[in-house]
């Protein structure tokens, strides 16, 4: 008996164990105290995160269905870290929620699906992982059970995501028909530039673009983000999109390697539209969640800019950006989660004079928004710089200049929130929000991440060495 499977799949195994444990806990129904349960779950997630750093070996299992290497371990660790931070931030919201355990079971199942999706080397596994990571999310979007908006967002999400999956599946089935295999490594050399396979590629691309909510496939994003509970929104915008970017890199760079002239053009169109439309619409949003939705559309555009590079440089820039993005975006969402859990308010004008009574939370928001905008002392600046330099290597300077000009535009709307928090003086400033200890820990993790990542240059070098293989 060998234990290879257990070592290579340890990330999935530990997630499955936690899911089973939570299921048994639910059926047993012994612990009535939500706070105690939350502490147990957070502890388990912390262990799950720590195990990801040890005993990483490369390998492939189940006749190529599942493969793993150092890059994939790193990507899974980024997702787990994000999951842990989100779990800390949902403490205030979940401590009075009736379906606490179901929330975690569903969320961990989506994480399991993402792990399998990132590790997949086969379209069948990939598609199952994708579905496992998107169907439970629609149920999660409905977890503010008494709010109509929440149900609306869940319905919009499941319908549009099913439609996108169908289009992608159509593309995959054409690819299978053309090559006769679903395995990525077997399929790559068999792909010809026949019109049918290029059409199939475009269908697959459209499915991805939908999941990444890059323009013109972004229409679902703002509505879903607005209606869903804040924790689910942050999960959608960071973890879910991050995992899709990871597998998208593999599929573009390895499977569709021979189509690189085609997908660079498609990416260029999509990224320019994403950045411009994301920015223009973010300016006029009043609801913070809608605002963050459009800002995330623009951020995705910048990731796509790095992907046009088509080599390892683009890959490591995208992974590093996503790591920084996890910290900065989750920090911003954490403040929104605090505001929403304590007061139920979610608009920018509600944040006027936020600084008067909530100094720490205001600084968290400010640092995270600076990082998202890419202002120098924060990590966001370096992350964006790597993305743009990776994109610039191809020498497509028109695209680069439009993208960089858009960064200036984005400063306006990020600073608008900071102005509301620090400068605007309302008649009655918001009372002090007593966030839990867990929320504060998550804030500390987020701001230290958003600052330290900027100076930890050896981290980027590490990512660069492991993506090289």
């Amino acid at each position: 008996m060998n234990f290879d499977a257990f070592i290579l799949m340890k990330s999935e195994m530990s997630l499955t164990l936690i899911i089973f444990f939570l299921l048994i806990l639910k059926v047993w129904d012994g612990i009535k105290d939500n706070t105690a349960l939350l502490h147990v779950v957070n502890f388990l997630l912390l262990i799950n995160l720590i195990t990801g750093f040890f005993g990483n070996t490369d390998g492939s299992l189940f006749s190529g269905m599942f493969h793993t290497n150092n890059t994939i371990y790193l990507e899974k660790n980024i997702l787990k870290l994000g999951m842990f931070i989100i779990s800390l931030q949902s403490f205030d919201w979940l401590k009075n929620h009736k379906h606490l355990l179901e929330f975690y079971i569903l969320m961990l199942c989506t994480l399991l699906g993402m792990d399998f999706m990132i590790s997949s080397n086969n379209f069948l596994m990939f598609f199952l992982g994708l579905e496992l990571s998107s169907i439970p999310l629609a149920a999660l979007a409905n977890f503010d059970l008494e709010k109509r908006k929440s149900s609306e967002s869940a319905l919009k999400m499941i319908l549009s995501s099913a439609f996108a999956s169908a289009i992608m599946l159509f593309g995959i089935s054409i690819l299978y028909g053309v090559t006769g295999t679903l395995d990525f490594t077997e399929m790559a050399p068999l792909l010809t530039t026949s019109q049918l396979s290029i059409l199939a590629f475009l269908f697959v691309f459209a499915g991805f673009a939908f999941k990444l909510s890059s323009v013109p496939f972004h229409l679902w994003t703002a509505d879903v983000y607005e209606g869903a509970p804040v924790s689910v929104t942050s999960y959608l915008s960071v973890i879910s999109k991050g995992s899709i970017v990871f597998i998208f890199i593999t599929i573009l760079f390895q499977l569709f390697k021979s189509y690189d002239t085609i997908w660079v053009n498609v990416l260029n169109i999509s990224l320019l539209l994403s950045i411009t439309i994301g920015n223009l619409f973010a300016m006029r949003q009043e609801n913070i969640k809608r605002f963050l939705a459009f800002s995330s559309i623009a951020q995705m555009g910048y990731i796509l800019l790095a992907l046009t590079n088509g080599t390892q440089t683009g890959e490591s820039a995208a992974i590093f950006f996503l790591l920084v993005y996890t910290f900065s975006n989750l920090g911003a969402f954490g403040v929104v989660a605090l505001l929403s859990a304590e007061t139920g308010k979610e608009t920018i004008s509600d944040m006027k004079g936020f600084y008067v009574n909530n100094k720490f939370a205001s600084w968290v928001m400010a640092i995270c928004l600076f990082s998202l905008a890419g202002i120098p002392p924060t990590a966001g600046f370096f992350a964006k710089m790597f993305l743009v330099t990776a994109g610039a290597e191809k020498g497509n300077y028109t695209v680069i200049s439009i993208a960089v000009l858009n960064m200036v535009v984005s400063l306006y709307y990020y600073l608008r929130i900071i102005k509301a928090i620090f400068i605007d003086k309302p008649d009655t400033p918001l009372a002090k929000l007593n966030g839990s200890m867990m929320m504060k820990i998550s804030f500390v993790i987020c701001i230290s991440g958003a600052i330290i990542m900027g100076f930890a240059s050896n981290l980027f070098e590490y990512i660069n060495t492991i993506t090289g293989k």
Partner: protein, 175 residues
């Protein structure tokens, strides 16, 4: 032209004709019935290709379970021509243009693809023994993961479907 060829043509005409019927018929109930017929025709194709298991599952799952669900929903929603939302002329033209373009592109792409002659009868992949063997050897991981997918679907459906008044400070939230 042997027996299989004749059968193939009959089934193909039936499948395409019924699929057109789904789209073109005004009455949604008729659409659903046409869709069931399409599934039967496709199951016939599976049988020609010696995939009995797939043919039966296709009929049981799609024509049986899912279509009955569709019929129930249609009856509950009580759709008729009057209740149908009228689309503007601009939307109709845009729909025709984009749909027609996609259709043309698909047609051209399929036409240009070279089709290989597949051996119709020799393949035994669809037989249930081979399918079972594959499911528990090469495809065991996807097979197991799909069970997690069903589990999450059930949990999600139960949580959403069983709405009860919540214990939390709901009043501020509804506003």
């Amino acid at each position: 032209m042997d027996f299989y060829d004749i059968l193939f043509w009959i089934l193909s005409v039936m499948a395409v004709g019924c699929a057109l019927g789904v789209v073109l018929s005004r009455n949604p109930i008729h659409s659903v019935i046409f869709l069931i017929l399409t599934f039967f025709a496709i199951s016939g194709h599976y049988l020609i290709m010696n995939a009995q298991f797939l043919a039966i599952v296709n009929i049981i799952v799609y024509a049986g379970a899912i279509m009955v669900l569709f019929l129930y929903i249609l009856m509950l929603m009580n759709l008729n021509a009057d209740a149908e939302p009228q689309k503007g002329l601009l939307v109709q033209i845009a729909g025709i243009l984009s749909g027609g373009t996609l259709f043309l592109v698909l047609l051209a792409a399929t036409k240009s693809a070279h089709n290989e002659e597949i051996n119709k009868v020799s393949t035994n992949v669809g037989l249930i023994t081979n399918l079972g063997k594959l499911l528990f050897t090469k495809y065991v991981l996807p097979f197991e993961i799909s069970s997690v997918l069903f589990l999450t679907a059930m949990i999600g459906a139960i949580v959403i479907g069983k709405k009860e008044p919540q214990l939390k400070n709901g009043e501020e939230h509804i506003a």
